[in-house]
Amino acid sequence: MTENLKIIEIEVLRYNPESDQEPHLEVYSVPFSDDMSVLQGVQYIKDNFDGSLTFRWSCRMAICGSCGMMINGIPKLSCETFLRDYYPDRIRVEAMAHFPIEKDLVVDLSGFIEKLESIQPYIIPKEPRSLDQGEYIQSPKQFNDYIQFTSCINCTLCYAACPQFGLNPDFIGPGAIALLHRYNMDSRDGAAAERMELVASEEGVFNCSAVGYCSEVCPKHVDPANAVNINKTNAAKDYFLRFLSPKGGAK
């Protein structure tokens, strides 16, 4: 079966917490066809060379956000990255940068999940509303204010692209701040002041030095760098304006 297939070398960063002191690279020669993604290449390795190779994946169509990896040092979804674009060169696949490696290509995302929880990623209504008051009305213009930021699939490629997160893992980071902004911008939501405490905190937006690579690698064009930087302005406004009108969450 492999006769008419080309062979590409895939270098994989392996780490087994039970036996390895540190990660190391292993090279596999993988036969591939032009329609094969890097994820399929890694699956081929697991099926044919080493069943212990560990990685996350699910949908294979860039919507679940599970299969992020460093591919030749660039954060990408491995399901929408194709082996043919690298052939005949060797391709290096590593766990997403800046996260602790759990095993092989699987990283520890618990920090991200905690941050996601902390930004209260749900609509907190301005005032309680009863059923007989009917649905919330939102104009197309109000919808446009936040729709871009709803596209986030929590793939965390933006974190793998953010050196400031790498240097300070406490930084809430691009993805969670983009979602925070999504809810703040929603006309039905009234919790922007509550979320401001986090935006302006030590872990907040001022960790960002506008590298901008997060928006570059985002597979869903969410532009998290924009969300972070708009919230720098919002935090500064909140800080100075509270002297004029004492309200807001900043302490």
Binding site: Y15, P17, E18, E22, P23, G73, I74, A97, H98, P100, I101, E102, D108, P163, G166, L167, S209, A210, V211, G212, Y213, S215, E216, D223, A225, N226, N229, I230, K232, T233
Partner: protein
């Protein structure tokens, strides 16, 4: 007992690992040239306050070949800084809506650069006009 032992990779030399980060470090470090030139002008102001002889000395120093080379280097670095500054401007701004459509990043960067060139030209004209 948990077999977990998450491995944290070092951030040492992070900015050398990706061409995007190398460019970031270059354009951020050009800010030092902006600060440097502000310092040169500040020295000029101080010399002006010290009287005519001091001021003429500073003017003379500015015209030395070494100073001219420095000016050329500063000009290149500050021009690059200006370019990258306006290049990242779109990501730092809230969306601007004109006629129901969001203004694209290219337009924002372009207008910024155009304004910078315009202001520089006005300054040049003023300097030639009043500089005698």
């Amino acid at each position: 007992m948990s077999k977990r032992r998450p491995y944290v990779r070092s951030m040492e030399g992070w900015w050398k690992k990706n061409p995007y980060f190398v460019e970031y470090m270059i354009h951020e470090s050009t800010a030092l040239f902006v600060a440097g030139y502000a310092f040169v002008l500040l020295v000029g102001l101080i010399r002006l306050g010290q009287g005519e002889a001091a001021w003429n000395g500073w003017l003379e120093a500015m015209q030395s070949p070494l100073s001219l080379i420095f000016h050329l280097v500063f000009l290149v670095a500050i021009a690059y800084h200006t370019y990258t500054w306006f290049k990242i401007m779109p990501i730092t701004m809230p969306p601007i809506i004109v006629g129901g459509k969001r203004v694209g990043p290219g337009v924002i960067t372009g207008s910024g650069l155009l304004a910078a060139v315009g202001v520089s030209l006005v300054m040049l004209v003023l300097v030639f006009w009043f500089g005698g």
